[in-house]
């Protein structure tokens, strides 16, 4: 965890891979807004759309790490805004559970970030992706056991 406070090494060429699971109604629309505003952000994120953050099965997150992701973003609507009433609450509960599970496997907490991005919040999406990229650059690649 102490790595987090180290400055970014300018010679560090590590480009982390991030998988972002985004809900269709708020966060995916927020990512589209960033596009409409043509604000460049780190190209490290690969977005996977689901209808609701409540659909994000913890297995998806584990699968992403297994397939080479260094970090995972789970983005949903703000509380009260969920298109499906309460899917984002479920996502929050599952994220809490995931963090415990990941800890047992030695995966640092910042590698799995939950946040809320509204359809209007293109800037916030850019901020979240930028921060996540920087965080992962500090943390370095996710070390996996020899056998995949």
């Amino acid at each position: 965890m102490t790595q987090q406070h180290q400055p970014i090494d300018r010679n560090n060429t590590f480009e982390p891979k991030i998988v972002g699971f985004l809900c269709n109604w708020c966060s995916y629309a927020g990512a589209d807004k960033a596009g409409l505003a043509q604000v460049p952000y780190p190209p490290n994120v690969r977005v996977i759309k689901v209808m609701c953050s409540g659909r994000i099965d913890p297995q998806f997150v584990l699968q992403a790490y297994k397939n080479g992701a260094d970090g995972v973003l789970i983005l949903g609507c703000h509380f009260g805004d969920c298109h499906y009433k309460q899917g984002n609450f479920r996502a929050t509960q599952r994220h809490r559970m995931l963090l415990r599970l990941l800890k047992q496997h030695g995966i640092e907490e910042p590698r799995c970030r939950l946040d809320y991005v509204a359809a209007s919040e293109g800037e916030k999406f850019v901020k979240v992706v930028t921060q996540m990229t920087e965080t992962l650059k500090r943390l370095g690649p996710l070390r996996r056991r020899a056998s995949k």
Partner: protein, 649 residues
């Protein structure tokens, strides 16, 4: 498997930022990709024609379209794919414009990201399966719960368009609260004069079945096909025979507080809820009738000139009706003012709620419209306390919206009845939006005997009963002041009506944090609940005046007519959850997480069953199922796993 990949250049939007030739070179060698083709603008008429023709020629098994956000054009391209006789759910879009081209500074990285996305889409699409939109028959009849302005308007509009309506009303008369008001803001129209013709039209309609003294007892089913049980309390008066003469009332020996006049006077055990109220037939309140104590009193029956109109053998009925949609129009209630001990409400003194004051002003009220204190004297001063329980975090944080207007109406009516009376308005905020609504305010301000006093907190006000009057203490710039107010009128916050919770539970709709019926979307769809087939009208959704209630009643009718058109079948979206029965363990976790109560349980086979009509396709249950028995159509585990693998490879 033959996958066809189509690139939209979007003019220069994509083509200038991403080296599509390089991307194509990498995409061509991906497993199952049979060909790649490009188009300048795929969404243009030429582009769509090209896509459709080309798909018809190539007939690929799966289609990947690399273009803009699926939020913009997925529907369009699905139509093109369908036009080429390929199932539209065998197509996957890649959002290259919004999420790569416009946001990636480095062209090398942009190309790489595009290839990754297309790889993910190609993997995913190969696992996608054809899905069909299903259609079901619907029942065009509609249940309207509550016969206030909103319910009446909705029922009338639906009947006008030929729909059969079942209008359920819990009291003995229709019209809701406004028929109890003598005059209505903003133009001081007479409430009964305005509403009674509407009521009469409803009563005469052959398409509207009015069930008074009735409540919804049970609702099963779903949008398009609800079965509703309605409990009807016996009236003991046959409305078909009763001629409404009222001969039965006078002989009744019983006297009991009249709840229809806010208990400000007495009524008989056989009574009309409201003079002039419709339907024009009395009811017998069996709880206070002598017959309930075993006596064989039949004075009302003897007085009745029509044989059989009084029917002591009337029984509670449970009526069953089949409807396709339900409109909730149960109205609102007033905040309980006894929670403010400093306002001395409910102590038997001359402190009234606005509704009680309306009755005191009404010609059909307890005093016949003469303004009198409980001691029977005309008041010399009236204090009107605005915002009682509204705009107050400790009570109700919202503004009730209508109180200012009726407070200024009271000002006008009191002034009209007793020109010398002093009127004090104690207010926190004044709110009178709208094109006509400030008229009464302007008149109150111009009134020579009206005084406006702003308070900070209701706790600063103290009402104390004194001989013949009330002492009202308040603070003015830090100084303690005091006035005499012979009558104190409270304008309580408008709160959800008593039965809202029970009804919401029955309909499986949500209430908001205040207890009002929660709308699908506060701006876009306030006339619709989050439950398909259940619509909202009037003050049950949010505090409202008559105009707002009528409008929302009309809107609710519009929702029903547009969503459940008679003779038209209801389309079921194919992106729903589906149970794999062989894998379901019957734990029912899916049922507990479903926000739409769309999952039932088959007791015979001990498995969950998804009602595709109620399912909104969020997939929360799919993620929650511990056995992997819940399948999220078009978002299956396998499809998402394939996409994850694809984008990360």
């Amino acid at each position: 498997m033959k996958i066809g990949v189509y690139f939209c250049k979007c003019g220069t939007n994509i083509a200038e930022k991403i080296d599509l030739e390089r991307v194509e070179k990498e995409v061509r060698v991906l497993p199952n990709v049979a060909y790649c083709k490009s188009c300048e603008y795929l969404c243009s008429e030429e582009g769509k024609t090209f896509l459709e023709r080309d798909l018809k020629g190539e007939m690929p098994d799966r289609v990947v379209i690399s273009a803009c956000s699926p939020r913009d054009y997925e529907r369009t391209f699905r139509e093109c794919v369908a036009a080429a006789t390929i199932n539209p759910y065998l197509m996957q879009m890649v959002n290259v414009r919004e999420q790569v081209a416009w946001v990636t500074a480095d062209p090398e990285q942009a190309a790489q990201k595009t290839v990754d996305y297309i790889r993910g889409a190609a993997r995913r699409v190969s696992l996608q399966v054809p899905l069909e939109e299903k259609e079901i028959e619907i029942c065009p009849d509609v249940l309207v719960v509550g016969a206030g302005p909103a319910g009446l308007k909705a029922a009338m509009a639906l009947a006008d368009s030929g729909r059969k309506v079942i209008l359920v009303e819990k009291t003995p008369v229709v019209g809701g609260l406004p028929v109890r008001y003598e005059d209505l803001f903003p133009n001081l129209e007479c409430g009964p004069c305005m509403l009674e013709p509407v009521e009469a039209e409803i009563l005469e309609s052959k398409l509207i079945e009015i069930l008074t003294l009735s409540e919804v007892a049970e609702v099963v089913g779903y949008c398009g096909n609800f079965t509703v049980k309605i409990r009807q309390t016996p009236r003991f008066v046959d409305m078909g025979k009763c001629i409404g003469c009222g001969e039965c009332v006078n002989p009744c020996p019983i006297s009991t507080p009249n709840e229809f006049n806010c208990r400000l006077d007495q009524r008989k055990a056989v009574a009309f809820a409201l003079k002039g109220g419709l339907p024009n037939a009395p009811f017998i309140d069996m709880k206070s009738c002598l017959r309930s104590t075993g006596e064989n009193c039949a004075l009302c029956e003897t007085a009745c000139p029509v044989e059989g109109a009084v029917n002591f053998d009337d029984l509670e009925k449970i009526l069953e009706r089949n409807v396709g949609a339900i409109i909730v129009a149960v109205g609102s209630s007033l905040y309980d003012c006894t929670v403010f001990p400093n306002l001395a409400y409910g102590n038997g003194g001359d402190v009234y709620t606005s509704l009680e004051f309306e009755r005191l002003l009404s010609a059909s009220g307890p005093t016949g419209g003469t303004l009198l204190t409980r001691a029977g004297m005309p008041p010399r001063s009236v204090a009107i306390l605005h915002c009682v329980g509204s705009l107050d975090e400790r009570h109700n944080s919202y503004c009730s919206g209508v109180c200012c207007q009726y407070a200024f109406k009271f000002n006008q009516l009191v002034h009209h009845k007793l020109p010398e009376v002093k009127i004090f308005h104690f207010y926190r905020e004044l709110v009178t939006p709208g094109k006509e609504e400030c008229g009464l305010f302007a008149r109150a301000v111009a009134h020579p005997h009206a005084q406006f006093i702003r308070y900070g907190s209701l706790a600063e006000l103290k009402v104390q009963a004194a001989q013949d009057t009330n002492l009202l203490r308040y603070q003015d710039g830090g100084a303690e002041c005091e006035i005499d107010a012979d009558m104190v009128v409270l304008c309580p916050a408008i709160v959800p009506s008593e039965g809202s919770k029970r009804l919401a539970a029955m309909l499986e709709t949500n209430l908001d944090k205040f207890g009002f019926f929660e709308e699908l979307h506060s701006r876009l769809d306030s006339g619709q609940s989050k439950m398909k087939g259940i619509f909202l009208a009037g003050a049950c959704q949010s505090p409202k005046d008559i105009q707002g209630s009528m409008n929302q009643g009309m809107a609710a009718a519009g929702y029903v007519l547009s969503q459940l058109a008679a003779g038209k079948k209801l389309k079921i979206e194919p992106i729903t959850a589906q149970v794999r029965e062989d894998a379901c363990s019957g734990c029912q976790i899916c049922r507990s997480v479903c926000p739409y109560k769309a999952i039932g349980f088959d007791l015979d086979h001990k498995v969950s069953v998804v009602n595709a009509l109620l399912c909104h396709g969020c997939g929360t249950c799919v993620a929650a199922c511990p056995s992997g028995a819940m399948n999220g159509n078009h978002f299956t585990h396998d499809q998402i796993f394939a996409e994850i693998e694809g984008v990360l490879q």
